[in-house]
Amino acid sequence: MTQIPESHRDLLNANVATLATIGPSGRPQVSELWFLADEGEIRMSLNTTRQKVKNLLRQPACSLLLLDLANPYRYVELRGDAEIEPDDDYAFADRLGAKYGADVRTMDNPGESRVVVTIRPTRIRTWG
């Protein structure tokens, strides 16, 4: 279970998270994405063709940030490893899509598949 301090637990209701990964040759990559606070964990649904997935399969270390849009000095950063599991039946993707009122299946091309990425933090830091 991801233990975000109570002072910043409201950030689990944020609309987007920012995820940083490490690519080939040690190059960082960062992007904003949808996420779901799911059964006490922070999870994302990613298409397996995405660079983020390729990066995490090679190097699971990642950093995820949830920002308070009303106060840019207030955020929580979770650093750790990503655990990746297949989501061939879109079971998790559907739950994530429900948060955003979207059908994630429509975002994928025929033949593509999805994975569930769960953040396993080794360090959680809060600011503000």
């Binding site: 944020a14 990559q29 904003e32 950093s63």
Partner: protein, 139 residues
């Protein structure tokens, strides 16, 4: 988005917080929110060389950057490339500091804000994108 559209998105008003990512000593990533300005060529961030993430820039010469909408249509930009820290001409740096700050606070408050942090923060990290992607409609 093409490069022009990416540039316009990064330059949009009202300005929103961006995110910079670097690789730290153990090879893992570090991400944090930043104020920034895209000057047409580089993403510029006001900072100091004593902080951990700029030190990573000095060590690796690389950084990544992202900015996006927190709501529909979830437009976003992500880019990465060579990064450098500029601690050179103070006048040039201060000019960029004011330009960055002006994107986020009222003009009549810029001097006061800058004076609170200058010269403790007197460096600009510039990210030269060599890979960039943008989406007008995310997901």
């Amino acid at each position: 988005m093409d490069l022009d559209e990416i540039g316009r998105y990064l330059d949009r008003s009202p300005a929103t917080t961006g995110f910079v990512a670097v690789s730290i000593g153990d090879g893992s990533p570090l991400v944090l929110p930043v104020w920034y300005r895209f000057d047409g060529k580089t993403v510029n961030i006001w900072t100091t060389s004593t902080r951990r993430w700029p030190q990573a820039v000095v060590r690796t010469g690389k950084a990544a950057f992202a900015a996006g909408d927190a709501g529909k249509p979830f437009a976003a930009v992500t880019l990465r490339g060579r990064a450098e820290i500029d601690e050179g001409d103070e006048e040039t740096i201060l000019s960029e500091v004011r330009a960055i700050t002006s994107r986020y606070i009222e003009e009549d408050q810029v001097d006061d804000y800058v004076s609170r942090w200058w010269p403790s923060l007197k460096a600009i990290v510039r990210i030269h994108p060599d890979v960039s992607h943008g989406w007008e409609r995310g997901y």
